[in-house]
Amino acid sequence: MPKDIISTQIQAIEDVNNIFQIPPSTARILLQFFGWDKERLVERYYDGDQDRLFEEAHIINPHKLPRQDSNTEHKEMTCEICYVDYPRKDMTGLPCNHRFCRHCWVSYLQSKIMDEGTGEKITCPAHQCPIVADEVTISHLLQGHPEIQARYEFFVAKAFVQGNKLVKWCPAPGCENAVRVNTVEARPVKCKCGHAWCFGCQQPTHEPVHCPTLKAWLKKCADDSETANWISANTKECPRCKTTIEKNGGCNHITCRSLNCKYEFCWSCLGAWEPHGASWYNCSRFDEKDSMQARDQHSRSRVSLERYLHYYNRYHNHEQSQKFEQQLFAKVDKKMEEFQQRGMSWIEVQFLKKAVEVLCLCRQTLKYTYVFGFYLRKNNQAVIFEDNQKDLEMAVETLSQYLEQDMDSATGSASSSSSSSSSSSSSSSSSAATTAQATSNPTVLADIKQRVLDKSQYCESRRKVLLDHVQDGYEQGVWEFDAAGN
């Protein structure tokens, strides 16, 4: 469990303690009850019925604790769970004053934590007692049981992150960090592990598109609404019984094979076959009203499918490229070594890594511009957006080519590692040839470095221009969206 989660909790508890002067364990339960929202807690605390607040949070008001009578501390009392007598001082109890022996407490905690899997809101073992056990008491009881203690601490941290709107777990697989923000809003954050994601929806950073739109898009891609679209674009329905029919021969005279239907109709105009008479391969009744309607419907779904596929293909393509470019990091590490052997200093070769980072970032943005574009209604600003998108796309492809191919030829190892550079963009063979000829020439390396630097800076600036333009559009309300993406 990361240390900063704990220190954040301790900080919040201390802040509350400074205001209220209550024990830290009570402060923790109160904070947990209010989802670690300090302001709301302070407001409730001073605004109205404190007794009710404590009752709702299932704790005893620490200012009203019954005074302990020290005379009775040495008297024996019976543990109500195991009926064994112990001196009162050896029994443990919460402020509700139900006391039980240590053994029973530990068994109780073990059964709650290990068997039932609860960490927060473990109540007093007494029947119908709602008082919640505080962390200090539990940790104290669990001394000597590290396994239970560890699991308990895990639950406490989990409850903290889940209960706190300002903290979320990093969604990267295997990452145990949580990220904290100062205000709740959907914005890109970056975890210490390097994964960049959106605090709002925990998807990877998805500028320029907003969370709800992305959600709709992902759902559209995942469900089979597009299968239905394909069916609708490539098949026709029998005008009478609505059975789906795929045409498998040339003749337009279709007889529905559905058992009870056997309707005969014209594939071309979707009207009944009878008026067609003997014109087997041609349809002269194209303009009849009902057949026109049937065709309109058909062509609309075809257009909408094509539109979707246009955006989906580009989206998917960038996603694929993104995956390949993740592998570039490893490759670039090697390149950087090679460059250093050829006389460049360590600091001079760092540009390569930076360029790959820029490439990945731009690729990701580019991918999501297609989601944005899919739902965007055409207007003047949308045309500018598309120009920006085109510009960024061209720049990104060029940069990708520099990094994947030209770099190989520059260091003369194109053949050995060509398998991994199967990029979608076509290589410019002429520049590859010239650089290959002069591999050992340091000026060629300098030239490549200059080109990569220029291009990655250009990509970065184009990305910024695009995102700023979209952001301005959001602020001025110029974007109109179509929920169905038509």
């Binding site: 139900h98 039980f100 053994h103 068994s107 109780y108 073990q110 007494a126 007692c129 049981h145």
Partner: protein
């Protein structure tokens, strides 16, 4: 009882000692209308008899139940089941009982006697709004006199004389 105990008892010895104390209590302070007999072969198993409470449709009947203490008792609730057939909205055909303290409201500070007292109280106050036997509960809500008559009839038929 999987936690080692400082008193030097093994877990089994502890359970035995513990149960002795609780059973002693049960015997020493008998509850009117309730009896519990430990099974000769299995010390975790008890045969229970509960008299139908006064002024309830179950008056005059003696209901047999079984009670079993699972291994993690008292951290887990005992398992209790009616053996005698009974017409009650919170008890189903198999004799299973819908009672909060036998489920999520269980507390290790409860005892066998308190559990049995709660079962007896359930007989006095059927709760058709939280039913286990849906048909019985439906009857109880729509036609209470008929439901009570059926309960009396079942009590006479299954819970007397045996």
């Amino acid at each position: 009882m999987r936690v080692p105990f400082a008193a030097g008892l093994t877990a089994d010895q502890f359970v035995a000692a513990f149960k002795y104390v609780e059973t002693q209590r049960l015997v020493a302070e008998p509850v009117p209308g309730i009896s519990a007999e430990p099974d000769e072969q299995n010390a975790r198993y008890f045969g229970i008899k509960i008299d139908g409470p006064h002024e309830s449709p179950f008056e005059g009947g003696v209901f047999r139940l079984e009670l079993f203490l699972p291994e993690d008792y008292p951290m887990a609730p005992p398992k209790v089941r009616f053996l005698t057939k009974i017409y009650h909205p919170n008890i189903d055909r198999l004799g299973r009982i819908c009672l909060d303290i036998l489920k999520d409201k269980w507390s290790p500070a409860l005892q066998i006697r308190t559990v049995l007292l709660s079962v007896q109280a359930l007989l006095s106050a059927p709760n058709p709004d939280d039913p286990l036997a849906n048909d019985v509960a439906e009857q109880w809500k729509t036609n209470e006199p008929a439901a009570i008559a059926t309960a009396r009839q079942w009590t006479r038929q299954y819970a007397t004389g045996k």
